[in-house]
Symmetry: D2
Subunit: 306 residues, 4 copies
């Protein structure tokens, strides 16, 4: 299988939920328009940001189908569906469904209960899931902070040895730049290495990365487009300033409780996706007020998606 | 809700699989007979040993239904169904199904992708899942080595504050005896604390524990019955010798690759449950031969279940 | 070399400091008398509790010499000197000095900057340090929570293979009871396994342990003597109650900031050892007031050393 | 105090040892000449690479004095002396001695036995040690992989709040680029942020870093000079190729056992520094042969220091 590498920003959409926690699938066309308006190249759905792990299989299928429909006349818009991780049986089912929907790609992350400790086991898992969608590009999703799987991707690629025909690349959500660059250079740059740490986009660009997947591209795409432009124009000082603005925005996630804060940012730009489901905790109202002030203070409205 | 505490050994059965990895549900009546013959008080199904995380929801229901049927005329045999952890929606569905089957109890473990870091969040998760089977006792399953959730159980019980009516106790699979004993003493010993580390049964008995859940009770129940008897007879030296025999048996799990070795022990006692599904790795044949020799060397056939 | 095993409680004394942080060596005779009055069998000096890592070599020698002098007419009082860990050169110097003082034993913990990851390296370190005091029993001090060295002691003893003549045993400050019991059974119980987790003394007694080293024996020895007596009299229920009292006392350490709280307990029994040196943080005065109330509430004055 | 920022490469020299493990101080003038020949801007001595933790205080003073003497007519050559970490008393003594020698700077790392968990405690430690050499610039050495101290440097700088007059900056040996860049931007770029991960120099350059401290600059300085030149010339593709060469060289450290492999590289360029002291393990002869072949294969002789 021959792959084109992904260029530009892929957003990882939030799962749109109602107040009662049910899926608010009707929002997705509007969500798609938001991303398009902000020059986003695609969507990585049912991932960490998309709460895939907190949705039922049926709900994940609904999300996938709704995105497929929203973008059905837009073959350029790349939808990557995270098919899961813990149970390979479930992953296979979702992989097959994704292929049936003709989405751009599937993604798969390390099993996170019985977490593999050797690269060969993880390679075997990839092979199994990739085979369930044999005509669809497969991206491994490397996010050790959530899966606990610390196997270097260089070792995974060596264990695979090119033997999974639809293995396209890796969504790399980790700070190991040595490992990341090593993967970029493997087999003449065969693999599509997508950067997954928005707070470190500039270092990744310096290493030659041209595609990125992230949650903050949902609500701050213009900032990153400028950052990329500054880098391409070799205006590094400006690129750093922009990266620091991104970091200030991301620091508020830590300050106000983590991943759920992303949905608070979405409220600020006018696309209400509800709250996160348990076990993720949402901000209470007083915190949200302080968060709004902080967001204004760091200039969020100057660079947010519109 | 008023609970009786569990006395004796609860086995955590393996998921019976065929060579091709499909469920071999037909083995369960025979499995039930094995446990009964060896004076096992119940079964903790779909847990870590039972590969619940690697089964689909449909398969977990089949397993639960098959155990319910096998023991339908045996009200003393306590079946506890682990309803999962990662997705609360799925857990609720399984909890409701368990109540419908009238099994003895449900169990729930910490979400292990978005892992709670404060006790209140974990308490909220327990409340949600417990409410889906309101007439069924609920056991929290504490196994930080697999879930990554290190919240002490003393903190969880304090966060719950007695406000979950069907919260019966904890299956405690961790070495923190200070935490364990603290929980045993809370609210006049209200909670049923089930010990989950077979290699440390003797210390748990010394702390007053009278119920235990474990995987090695599947194939070495007589050894543990003797250990408990020695403890009750205050023959400590003998109890230690028996605990050391258990440890030698358990050390072979580490030597031959972990949890999958349990199914190899099952083969030695004549109940073939197949292999583990990926991501767990099974022993190859040469290793199995060496394992058999080691099992004989440590006297496994003298104390195994029959 | 032939060793007698240690019976009873060894206290790990605090480093007595003045307000200005200098050593208050003059307190040591009085400290020794306190321990004697409370039937303590010896002192493990310059350890974690004794802030060995925060003292200079010269100061550690002063501490060792002062204890040697305080107990010079008391051959039954066993003084074990922790010779350090990070720099083997320094450890060797302290080991030789300890032998010269004719103290009962030396102890050595894992290097904690370049932390060994394989048992053979750690065995090599033990061999080097033990050889610097060849006529003095050597105890390895296992405290992975502080050293970061997670090598099981069963593996260390196997790597040593009996080849260090003065290797007497292990001060075991960790919750791995499987490992602990395995070590107790090695080579017909050759090794003196000293228990180092005061909050878990009862489980250790059940495993046959008869010697313990700990910090709370400095100020609550009567409680533990009663616990041991209850165990020996096979009054388990009473033993558990006493263990729970110990746990309540130990829980205040966590509540008020950790190891430095031990010196606050010493103030309550009238032996002021000053504060801890940086990097350990001491309680401020308002916290100390609350701590005093809590100590009273849990009945500290009923079971403390006098 | 006003500081000039450091430009260029600072090598972290190995401790030169004889076969018997004693210091081979006589090599230092030659070592200094090697670094000068290869356009190295200074030396970070007694650090991780320099085995400071395995040397006695007396030995560390000898090393410092020897470097001071070797470079006494070279005021441009910046010598930074790591004064330690575990015991603040020892650190203060070394700090005072360093000031007496008029070395360029002192450095201090987090205590690594009683490891601080809050930024204020670490700031207090820095204050204490910095005050012992009040006329000498102070660099905090951030290396959580060895110290276990995971406090972000952004938090440390905030806790210090500008109140340590000689606090000059940070040697940053960690992959958290968000934290690193945040520190670079604090108080108008007041702090001198030295990069300490040779395998990730290119990303650090992209973030505006202009000074670096590392062990591989001892033996592969020309490679990094070329990398910096390529970056400054905006030849990114070439810069990446050079970074990948550095990575291949660094990968052999992992393959052959870690930090000790650095001294093997030194042998290849003709400056024998002996082996590492325990607890670091050295390569055996057969491994060294294979290592030499690997070094040749990756082109080490084309870019090594000469």
């Amino acid at each position: 299988m021959k792959f084109k590498k992904i260029e530009g920003l892929i957003a990882a959409p939030f799962a749109p939920l109602l107040q009662n926690g049910r899926l608010h699938i009707e929002v997705i066309p509007q969500y798609y328009q938001l991303l398009k308006r902000n020059k986003i190249a695609g969507a990585f759905i049912n991932g960490s940001t998309g709460e895939g792990v907190s949705l039922t299989i049926e709900e994940k299928k609904q999300v996938a189908a709704a995105w497929a429909e929203a973008a059905e006349n837009d073959p350029e818009f790349k939808i990557i569906n995270l098919v899961g991780g813990a149970s390979l049986e479930d992953c296979e089912e979702m992989a097959a469904y994704t292929e049936q929907l003709k989405l751009y790609a599937i993604s798969f992350t390390s099993p996170f209960y019985f977490t593999p400790v050797i690269a060969q086991t993880l390679a075997d898992c990839c092979r199994r899931v990739a085979a369930a969608a044999p005509n669809t590009p497969f991206y491994y999703y490397h996010i050790p902070a959530l899966t606990g799987c610390n196997i270097p991707m260089y070792d995974l690629l060596n264990a695979i040895g090119g033997a999974i025909p639809n293995f396209a690349g890796i969504k790399y959500t980790h700070e190991d730049f040595m490992d990341f660059l090593s993967c970029m250079y493997m087999e003449n740059g065969r693999y599509d290495m997508l950067w997954g740490r928005d707070e470190n986009m500039l270092p990744a660009l310096a290493l030659g990365c041209s595609g990125a997947v992230g949650s903050t591209y949902n609500y701050a795409a213009p900032l990153y487009h400028e950052l990329i432009k500054a880098f391409n124009d070799k205006e590094f000082s400006r690129a750093r300033d922009l990266q620091v603005q991104a970091i200030e925005m991301i620091r508020l996630l830590g300050k106000y409780g983590g991943i759920a804060v992303g949905k608070a940012y979405m409220k600020l730009i006018g696309l209400d996706c509800g709250g996160f489901r348990l076990p993720v905790k949402n901000m209470d109202d007083p915190s949200f007020k302080k968060f709004m002030e902080d967001a204004e203070r760091i200039g969020f409205y100057n660079f947010c998606s519109k």
